[in-house]
Symmetry: C3
Subunit: 139 residues, 3 copies
């Protein structure tokens, strides 16, 4: 079976956010798949999707601090600056972390590790709703 | 349906290049897929594939400047140096950005966001043609 | 056909390790696929999977040195520190490099480039066995 749908995530502030539950709730079709894969594509170039630690919220705060420090704003050599100082660093973070995930499905559930959750990296100061294309296939 | 083919990209200079059109033109089979996925693997370790902003060419120039600054050449602690100063940094950039993409297909077209394009990161000073394996599946 | 299995990799020290052979040997089913894809998910948040140069072991040593330097331990602004100084940097490395790969299969074999191998990045000082979910599909 194939199933494809658009998921519109609720608006979040700049930073890293755990979105595993919101994505699973938008995909009741997961339960019908005994073996398969879920593909997610975030259709944006200034946000990101990555897997990381799902328990301690300070990990997400540390992600925000680490990437802000290592992908700084306002570097004098930046050319693409007319959308604001947060824009170009957001593009870099998006490509370093990626905007797409492929996740295994086993027995109607995402087969993630115990400590793995899906992070949305919101890298703009003020962004609207972020859209994902979810493509599910399996048997 | 499954379709797999090798795409040989035209030679490009060091830097980031938009290759969405070249890839789509090599895959007329895309039009026969109503729901599916396209997988791309760049078969190299000194170039990369990533999604990012498709409109303003200064974003690509800023990518080249940012990654050159943050993944520098000629660090005294580098050991793998016999293929030239651009070689080892090219390996690092390839793994940071990745060499593989999975893209959703809807109604015979890649379902990318409005501003998303496929970047080839050419990280060597003088490279030959880069080869992609494209694997398309869907219904 | 779909085939999904869990692979428990042997324990390795901190650093980057070539694991292509170990993964292929755990998947004799690869030989039955003429065209398809293999998806690998490392079910951890402090290790990584990436493709890079498979020939010269100094590339792997240089990866370890580069990422240790650029993702340092013991930064005063880190909050998530109670699991040891190597823990939070391991989370960052895991998301920068990624924990998932999708690889094309052609004629019963992984269709990697000549110089491409699968690296396991073990980012903790003392970790146990790392678990992969392998999902193979094709015809």
């Amino acid at each position: 079976m194939w199933h494809q749908t658009t998921i519109s995530l609720k608006v979040r502030p700049r930073g890293f956010h755990l979105v595993t539950d919101e994505i699973e709730q938008a995909l009741p079709e997961l339960r019908r798949v005994s073996t398969g894969l879920l593909h997610l594509l975030l259709q944006h170039t200034s946000a990101s999707l990555t897997l990381n630690e799902n328990a301690d919220p300070t990990v997400r705060a540390d992600f925000e601090a680490f990437f802000n420090r290592n992908v700084p704003e306002n570097e004098p050599y930046y050319q693409h600056t007319y959308e604001g100082p947060d824009d170009l660093p957001a593009h870099f973070k998006s490509s370093i972390l990626g905007v797409s995930l492929v996740l295994p499905i086993a027995n109607g559930r995402l087969a993630l590790g115990t400590w793995q959750g899906i992070y949305l990296g919101e890298h703009r100061n003020r962004a609207g709703r972020r859209t994902l294309i979810a493509t599910l296939q399996g048997e």
